[in-house]
């Protein structure tokens, strides 16, 4: 134990990053981009306010990406994140409206209540997906595509498409705020909590190990005595809770809730998760990769806005280019592994 304490944690960290080629590559890209910005747009990018702004922006889709990651580790996918998020936030917005006092304030229990209920609603919607996948055996991609549309539909039906707003500003002021001496955005804090919780579940608990196993081979998982249906239910429940939370963050950021907020996040979160190195076939993927991808994407997006002359559409080109580039580089490094593996397989027979 003593040895571990003595060794330089930074060194350990670097060694770990070097060991994982994919993470290493993402870090390099991030550094390259930040260097580029430092050279060309130092003053406009490297300000505290800018970093605070970015840190307040990415949590809403970052949390969604974390949910999608969990689903993808089991070999599934969740296309209904946005639907679940909006449905949750709309219902909670109605609740806040009801709780808003004549003086425009909220009772002290309101915000905790909204979070508890919001997580509950997200969990319920996620469970709905889980049931579609486990009981009705609908492939996750279709089940969540359909349910996503369905949830949005419910949002439209109950709001008629209008935004739900004019609830007490206290909610937005509490969440869309900075704490610790006006330094850390609350949204970032929420993201970190979610990330830590998911990281904890994936790496430190039995549940995490089981998820990776299930994603690797559902059949072997069944033969190992894992309750695969229960695991999948929990998976979609988790992604649902992430979606619910993302909805609550969006509700604070925009001080309102509406059926069509965050429509771009569906594909964006999948892009992030895949860029983060999660295998869409399941069984492989680290939260560190996904967080890096979230940060990289936010940096790209904000960075490119620092160049008024460059069309914001280049952001697509960058995203797509980075994704393909990382994958091709992985191909070159993993091909050697692949050969090694192939050899082992062939020598087996």
């Amino acid at each position: 134990m003593m040895d571990k304490v003595k060794t330089n944690p930074l060194k350990n960290g670097i060694a770990a990053v070097r060991k994982d080629q994919h993470i290493f590559r993402l870090v390099l890209m991030l550094i390259a981009w930040m260097l580029f910005l430092a050279i060309t747009r130092f003053g406009r990018f490297y300000s505290l306010l800018n970093f605070q702004t970015m840190a307040a922006q990415f949590p809403e889709f970052g949390i969604m990406a974390l949910g999608v990651m969990v689903a993808m580790i089991t070999g599934g996918i969740d296309l209904s994140m946005v639907g679940m998020a909006n449905l949750t936030s709309i219902l909670m917005a109605y609740l806040l409206l009801a709780l808003t006092g004549d003086d425009g304030g909220l009772p002290a229990y309101a915000i905790p209540l909204v979070f508890v209920l919001g997580l509950g609603i997200g969990a319920g919607l996620g469970l709905f997906n889980g049931v579609l996948v486990t009981k009705f055996h609908i492939p996750p991609i279709l089940a969540t595509l359909g349910s996503g549309e369905f949830f949005i539909g419910i949002c439209m039906a109950i709001t008629g498409g209008a935004a739900v707003s004019r609830f007490s500003r206290t909610y937005a002021r509490t969440i869309n705020n900075r704490i610790l001496g006006d330094m850390i955005p609350v949204q970032l804090l929420i993201f970190i909590i979610v990330a830590v919780v998911i990281w904890f579940f994936l790496t430190k608990t039995v549940f995490g190990t089981k998820l990776y196993m299930l994603g690797t081979s559902p059949k072997a998982a069944r033969f190992s005595g894992l309750n695969t249906n229960k695991l999948l239910l929990k998976t979609y429940l988790t992604s649902g809770m992430c979606a619910g939370l993302a909805g609550l963050v969006m509700m604070a950021n925009y001080n309102s809730a509406r059926a069509d907020y965050g429509g771009v996040y569906t594909l964006q979160s999948i892009l992030i998760v895949i860029l983060g190195g999660v295998n869409p076939l399941g069984g492989k993927g680290k939260i560190s990769g996904v967080i890096l991808a979230v940060v990289l994407l936010q940096m790209l997006q904000t960075g490119i806005n620092r160049f008024p002359a460059i069309s914001s559409y280049y952001i697509f080109l960058l995203w797509g280019g980075v994704l393909i580039l990382v994958m091709v580089l992985n191909f070159f490094t993993e091909r050697n592994d692949g050969l090694r593996f192939k050899k082992l397989v062939t020598t087996k027979f």
Partner: protein
């Protein structure tokens, strides 16, 4: 290490277009005024960009338009936050969604940035909001056009980009209210009082097709989005309903010249987005320069040279309204 090199090379390749354009970046002296439209590919905002660019050339100020890659309330809010962090001097916004942009604009104002909006009368956190007209008046005006085409009688319905688009629904509501007051022989289709086009001409077309099939008594559709009327017109033409069914709405002249000339659409209404863009930038400059804003405000731009405050508001300035385009004047505007 070869791989690292490869990576750096690839990265450089990827960002090289930006390196080139980085050189021609904005001047650092003087005010930086940014116009944020709903998105950048809608011809409406392409036209607005023309006005903004023209304004930059005229004044030599650092004024530019920057839009999100697609219409999305959250993306727009994030772009504005980004501009706040960047420390621009003034932000002029055409909001996608009133509710979600308001808290962000509050942040902007707290950061000492001048906020000017367009089509955002309901916003609280603005320095000033410019309207080419009032939403109520504009809705009523579209209705007048439709009513005239329909000969003041018959069943009609309304089309909006989406039930979530505030301005469109306000126009439509105002149009319906106007009809109820003034055109007693017209009735709103009760079964489908409002349909959506999702800012997509093809959807507008298909929805119109269905409407005409399902409700043969339908005689008119009031469009709001600039994609609505052209899509509906295509349906009218194809179903052989020309001169039996009518539509009206917003649209740019040259884009719809063919429709107007062929008589499928009798008239469209609009205001010039380029002028609106200029007006916002000009007003922002006035505020930045600390000039007093008192009615009548003269922005030195046609249609915006004697603006007055809307009744009961000290932020919303109204201009002189809208234009009707029809087959006769479609080529007169130059856009």
């Amino acid at each position: 290490m070869k791989k690292t090199l490869l990576l750096v090379l690839a990265m450089t390749f990827l960002v090289s277009p930006f390196l080139f354009s980085a050189g021609q970046a904005a001047r650092d002296d003087g005010y930086e005024i940014v116009v944020v439209p709903k998105d950048s590919s809608n011809p409406w905002f392409v036209r607005m960009k023309e006005g903004v660019d023209e304004y930059r050339e005229e004044t030599g100020l650092n004024v530019y338009q920057r839009g999100t890659a697609q219409i999305d309330a959250t993306l727009q809010a994030q772009l504005v936050q980004d501009l706040i962090a960047q420390g621009v001097d003034a932000i002029c916004v055409v909001p996608v969604d009133i509710e979600s942009i308001d808290p962000v604009l509050e942040q902007a104002r707290n950061a000492g940035i001048v906020v000017i909006t367009h089509e955002g009368a309901a916003l609280e956190n603005v320095d000033y909001n410019i309207e080419a007209f009032s939403n109520v008046g504009y809705g009523a005006f579209i209705m007048d056009n439709l009513a005239e085409a329909m000969d003041y009688e018959g069943v009609y319905t309304t089309m909006v980009a989406s039930l979530t688009v505030g301005a469109h629904n306000e126009w439509a509501n105002a149009g319906v209210a106007h009809q109820k007051e003034n055109y007693p022989n017209m009735t709103l289709l009760a079964a489908q009082p409002r349909v959506e086009s999702h800012d997509n001409g093809d959807i507008a077309y298909n929805v119109a097709l269905e409407l005409f099939k399902a409700y043969p008594q339908l005689k008119g559709i009031m469009g709001t989005s600039s994609y609505d009327a052209p899509g509906i017109a295509r349906a009218i033409e194809e179903l052989g309903l020309v001169d039996r069914v009518f539509t009206s709405g917003t649209g740019l002249p040259l884009d719809n010249a063919a429709l107007l000339e062929s008589g499928i659409v009798k008239s469209l209404t609009l205001w010039d987005p380029a002028e609106a863009g200029k007006a916002m930038a000009s007003l922002a400059l006035k505020v930045l320069n600390g000039e007093e804003i008192a009615a009548p405000v003269d922005l030195g731009i046609g249609g915006y040279n004697a603006m007055t405050f809307r009744e009961g508001s000290n932020t919303t300035l109204e201009g002189e309204g809208w234009i009707i385009i029809n087959a006769d004047n479609v080529y007169d505007f130059g856009f």
